[in-house]
């Protein structure tokens, strides 16, 4: 047993309700210990059925085990909980591609690309799909067949615990309740609910400030911090969308990513553009 797995196992045993199961299951998956990874992920999901990260992780494990139908269902669930989760969109897109349904595959990958245009793996997957589209297009919208071969390594559906770009979107209602998305601190702690609770106050304070200073309604707040850049938008008057990326991403570009995510959020909320 490697040191990291031993440490994570000990941490989980010490605090069974912690989110350490995500790291442990992912570490086991990477080492090819798929059955153990599956058990750890399932155990964690039992405690956190509403955690998109956990469904995403389970999907990767099931994909590695060759259970593509199971992987598909788990990614769909992850996407239901977090509509802007690009790793799930990529995973579903690739499963459709494997099943020969290029239309659905492209649609999912294009949605992922709109949410995160900086993810090179999506762009490359779309390009490869274009090159490889020599077989007849299947237009069925049914889910991919379970008998397809194991999920290959590309496109990489991402390691949500290690890649902040797969997270970093929070959609919050006016009462500070998390509607969608997830956020981890630099120490890998799940801080989504805590930040969501603060964001409702930020939105109200921004509205008050701009109104009293005669600037009208607030449109966006760009925040620079030593650890990263944040962008806040109100997709609707009653919601706030937070997007976080690394500091190296220019703020104006982060704004574009946030605007795209806000459009998705409005669609998800059923608001007509």
């Amino acid at each position: 047993m490697s040191n990291d797995i031993r440490t994570l196992t000990a941490r989980l045993a010490e605090e069974p309700s912690s989110l350490a199961f995500l790291e442990l299951a992912e570490a086991l998956r990477r080492r090819g210990q798929l059955e153990a990874a599956y058990k750890v992920a399932r155990g964690g999901l039992g405690r956190y059925p509403g955690l998109a990260d956990a469904h995403d992780l389970l999907a990767r494990i099931l994909g590695d085990q060759g259970d593509l139908a199971g992987a598909f269902d788990a990614w769909v669930e992850a996407l239901r909980l977090d509509p802007m989760r690009t790793s799930a969109l990529k995973g579903i897109g690739f499963l459709y591609f494997r099943a020969g349904n290029v239309v659905e595959a492209r649609e999912h990958l294009q949605r992922a690309a709109e949410i995160d245009p900086d993810d090179q793996s999506i762009t490359q997957a779309l390009a490869r799909m274009t090159e490889a589209t020599v077989t007849p297009v299947q237009t069925s919208s049914s889910r991919p067949a379970a008998s397809a071969s194991a999920v290959p390594a590309e496109p990489d559906t991402g390691d949500s615990s290690a890649d902040p770009a797969e997270q970093g979107h929070l959609l919050v209602d006016g009462n500070g309740m998390l509607l969608s998305g997830s956020l981890r601190s630099p120490g890998n702690e799940d801080v989504g609910d805590r930040v969501a609770a603060e964001l409702a106050g930020v939105s109200k304070e921004a509205s008050r400030t701009t109104r009293l200073l005669g600037l009208g309604g607030w449109q966006a707040i760009a925040v620079e911090s030593p650890e990263g850049n944040l962008y806040l938008l109100p997709p609707t008057p009653d919601t706030v969308l937070l997007t976080i990326r690394e500091r190296s991403l220019p703020m104006a570009r982060l704004g574009l990513i946030a605007e795209r995510a806000a459009r998705h959020a409005r669609a998800w909320l059923g608001v007509q553009e």
Binding site: G187, E198, V202, T209, L213, Q219, I221, A222, E224, E227
Partner: protein, 115 residues
């Protein structure tokens, strides 16, 4: 000219900036100001201070440090804030036509010189 007033002058020279002020972040009080007529410095300081505190709590909740620069964009203009040392924050009010990129650079440079 004091370092504070020098900082404010540099920022207000940027095209489109309607005024700037140096505030104390925790209590939202004005330390120094250079504003166009009709802009209430005390109200601006209080509101900006309160907003920055809220944002600071949000970033702290995310396990991040205090924001170094904030840009609040509204329908008719923007509020910019650059955090300095000793609880000081340089705040600027910008019109829609302001050169925000230049204002940001001047503000970050100015708060760097203040510390």
């Amino acid at each position: 000219m004091s370092p504070a007033n020098s900082a404010l002058e540099r920022v207000t020279k940027v095209p489109g900036i309607r005024g700037s002020l140096l505030i104390s972040a925790t209590d939202g009080l004005v330390v120094a100001e250079r504003l166009m007529d009709g802009i209430d410095g005390r109200a601006t300081a209080a509101l900006a201070g309160s907003l920055l505190q809220r944002l600071g709590r949000a970033t702290a909740g995310a396990g991040m440090q205090v924001p170094t620069f904030v840009h609040l964009r509204a329908n008719s203009g923007s509020i910019l804030a650059a955090a300095g040392q000793n609880d000081l924050v340089l705040v600027a009010l910008a019109g829609l036509d302001a050169n925000l990129g230049l204002a940001r650079l001047e503000m970050l440079d100015a708060v760097g010189r203040l510390s």
